[in-house]
Amino acid sequence: MIIEDFDFWLGKAGYFSLTLLIVTFYGLLVGAFIDRTIAKVQGRIGIPYRQPFINILKNFFKRTAISHGVMFYLGPVFRIAGGIGTLAFIPVLYGSEMFSNFSMAGDLFLVIYFMFFGQLGMALGAGESGHPYAAIGIARGLSQMTAYEVPFVLAVISIVIQYDTLSITQIVAAQQGGWQNWTVVTNWVATLAAMLAFLGMMGYSPFDIFLAPQEIPIGPPTEFHSAYLGLMQLNRALFGATKLVLFMNLFFGGATSWPELMIKTLLIYMVAIVVGVAFPRFRVDQGIRFFFKIPTLIGIMSIVYVQMMLVA
């Protein structure tokens, strides 16, 4: 009995490793694509598609690395643990035994919790680096995160009420059978609130206040270098792609095949990019006030909307 169980979980872990590999690769590739898109808007050619891979390799091949303490080591490790943990509980392809990962009843709450975990680990790690810009970046990043989590969680509560489940797989299952069943159609108010939160989550303009390359040189990762930075770049690709998959699952009907997943996630990513290339950066107070005003109101409205829909 125990051995049978062991085989089952070993198989699951093997499948998950495959998913992890594909999603990271896709995340790096889509990162290069987005960089090239932004370059085209600015009239440039942009980086080659292999550039994100070379950057990571280069960082791992650095000959020296210095440390600022134990937490400095653990910062990037916590960050990538947060990224992997988030992906582990999101079913990537609907209806596929291979790519449904460790999805279970109540995984939505776990995912939201894991998304926070990496950021907090990073905050501790960057805090120990002792660089003042890192501290400013963390203060900005965490306050912005607190702000955009409000509309996002309100939107999630709304769809949890709508579908009466906390399982991402069941939420995706409820949206099958054509685009008219997607949450973006059936509960467009919640989708709107979540997409506004998504802008803050992806960290492009106007919400890149925590990196802010021109005023607080790249913020929290200022002191991170060599393999630490390589690990963080790897996580940036993985975590970015994971968030896209989560949004696709919750609001855009999920995906049943890899090409469908890629097209849908790319289009969702484009929302952040179109806004990003069109708007300059907010000040800290503007960015945080923004989320507490319109998106939070829309989030509350989405709960009212879904209640009215259920009553009617």
């Binding site: 050619i45 980086i47 280069k58 020296t64 210095i66 200022t222 270098h225």
Partner: protein, 210 residues
């Protein structure tokens, strides 16, 4: 970096007060050997050459030539070049023209904080022989007396095209494994330090900025 207790490989840090001595590392830098397998080293060099991150530190008038590199006309990102605002993450230091003694102190500080392998490109004629500032009281004339230089791009001022050409030349040298500036600096550390301290009178930082 942890303080080294071994007296043979420690630095004096004479420029620091007793209180500051406790805060800074006194360990000597070490030279690094290439990977024992040649194919691995070649692959690493290929990756290093195709991902050059330039430190965004304008050290002289030539810094104005760095800005157009990233814009639409020259777009150096095609060659894997990117600007980096922190020395920890950058691998290329472009010395933009003359280096005044005041700036040299900051250049040394930033260079030592960069993680190896690291490369220096000297832009313009001033770091070669002083250029038009050859008899100035506060600029250094031969830059390679103070830090190891990997590539010179001469002229006054070289245009961004030449800088792009220079970067591509640097990539060739890195791929051939000829850019070992960081190791040269460590091997001739005492000579470089003596030269640096000869011109920088108010030396109030550790002997090596970890």
């Amino acid at each position: 970096m942890i303080k080294s207790l071994n007296t043979e490989d420690t630095l004096e840090n004479a420029g620091l007060t007793d209180e500051e001595q406790q805060l800074f590392s006194n360990a000597r830098p070490q030279a690094y050997e290439p990977y024992p397998i040649k194919a691995v080293e070649d692959f690493a060099n290929w990756a290093r050459a195709n991902s050059l991150w330039i430190l965004a530190f304008g050290t002289g008038c030539g810094a104005i030539e760095l800005r157009p590199l990233m814009t639409a006309r020259f777009d150096a990102s095609r060659f894997g070049v990117a600007g980096r605002p922190t020395p920890r993450q950058s691998s290329v230091f472009v010395i933009g023209g003359y280096a005044s003694v005041k700036t040299l102190k900051r250049i040394i500080r930033s260079y030592e904080q960069m993680q190896g392998p690291k490369f220096i490109i000297c832009l313009g004629i001033c770091p070669v022989n002083g250029g038009m500032y050859f008899d100035s009281y506060n600029t250094v004339n031969q830059f390679d007396q103070y830090l190891p230089v990997d590539l010179y791009i001469t002229g006054c001022m070289p245009r961004p095209e030449v800088l792009v050409a220079g970067i591509m030349e640097l990539q060739k040298k890195i791929k051939a494994g000829e850019c070992n500036g960081a190791n040269r600096y460590v091997e001739n550390f005492d000579w470089y330090k003596a030269n640096q301290k000869k011109v920088i009178k108010n030396w109030d930082m550790p002997d090596y900025n970890w």
